[in-house]
Symmetry: C2
Subunit: 187 residues, 2 copies
Amino acid sequence: MPSPSVSPRIAAVAPESPAAVPASAAVIADEPGIGAWRSFLTAHARITRRLDEELQAAHGLSLAEYDALLQIAHAPGRRVRMNVLAERVILSRSGITRLVDRLEAAGAVERSACATDARGQEAVLTPLGLDRLRTASATHLEGVRRYFLDRLDAADLDGLETSLGRVADPLGPGARPSHEGCPPAEA
Amino acid sequence: MPSPSVSPRIAAVAPESPAAVPASAAVIADEPGIGAWRSFLTAHARITRRLDEELQAAHGLSLAEYDALLQIAHAPGRRVRMNVLAERVILSRSGITRLVDRLEAAGAVERSACATDARGQEAVLTPLGLDRLRTASATHLEGVRRYFLDRLDAADLDGLETSLGRVADPLGPGARPSHEGCPPAEA
DNA sequence: GCAAGATCGTTGACTTGTCAACAAACGGTC
DNA sequence: GACCGTTTGTTGACAAGTCAACGATCTTGC
C-alpha cells in the first residue's frame, strides 16, 4: 500500500509575468522556507514508500496495519477501543473498521464487546498478532534505522524532534482526555 | 483526498519480557532517535491532511492534482511527458493517466501527442489550468506558512532542510538524466 | 423516568490509487 | 531492413481509504 505520497515541489506560482518576462520564464515563487518544506515532503514520500514495500514483502503487512498492531500492543491489556485506535492511527472510523476486519481475518486481532458500554468494541491483540508484530518490527526498525536514523547525528535528531514537534502539536486532536479502553467494569 | 497518512507511534516491540516484567508493562523499544521519527510522521500526517482539506474546500483540487499542475506549470513550455510527470508527482504511470484524465475533464490540462515519439503524450497546461493553479496557490501557500513556516525560525528551517535532504537524497530515483519533454522536433 | 440529542461501530456507494496485461512504437543487432 | 526486447500510455480488476446514513446505545435536562 505505497502511500499516495503527493510530493516533490509543492510551492506556488508567481503572480503574473510583468510583460517583460518571456513566456517560458520560471514560475516558482521561491519563498524563504520552501526548501525545507520540499525536503520534508520528499523525505516522507520516499522513506514511507520504501518501508511499506519492505514490510509488505517480508511480512505481508502494510504500514498502516503495522501501526495499528503496534498501537494495540502498546495499550494496557493489549486492547483498544476502535474509537481511540482510529484516532491514533489517523484513520476515519470506517477506515478502522475495515483495517481491523483485515487483521481479524488474519488472526492477528479479535474483537471484543466493551463491558461498560454496549456500543463499544475493542480490538484485542492475539498471541499470533503479537508474534507477527514482533517479527515485523525487526524489519521495520531496521528500515527506519537505515533510511532515517543512521543518516543523522544526535544533534540533528534533536533538532528534528523539537522543530517538528512544534509544528505537529498545535494540530493535534484538541488535548482531550480520551482514555484508551473501556474503564474497568466496576463503578 | 486526505492522505492515508499512517502515523503516530511507529516504533517497535521489545524482544520479550524477561519474566520479571508484569504483563502490562511497556512494550516499546525506545531507541534513541525514535522520538524524531515519530514527530516526523505525525507532523506530516497532520499538516498534509489540513492542507488537502483546505485546498479541496476552496478550489476543489486535491493536493496531488495541485502538485501535478504545479509541475506542469514549472516545466519549459508548460508541458511535460506523462512519464516524467509520474515520476515527479511520485505516482505510477497508470496513476498519472487517471489524474490527468481528471484534470483534462476539468479543462485544466490538455493532452498532446509528442512530435518525436509516437508513443508519447504530453500534458499541456491550459490557460484555465494556469488560472486555477494561481488561485489555488494562494490558499496553499497560506496554509504552508501557517502550519509550517510560521512556527519555525530561520535556523530551524535550515536544519530541517539539510537534515531531511540528507535523508531523502540517497533515495532518489537514481540520478538519471530524464529530460522533461520531447526534445524539439528537428534533429 | 423519559424524550432529545450525541456517540459508537458498521455498511453502501464512491474515489483514488495500485498492479498486470496490452497494443503500439522505439532502438539496436544481425 | 526485419526481428527482438524495451518503453509508453491506457485499461480492467482490485485495494484501501473517504463520507453519509443507519440502528443501537449512552447521556443529559426536565
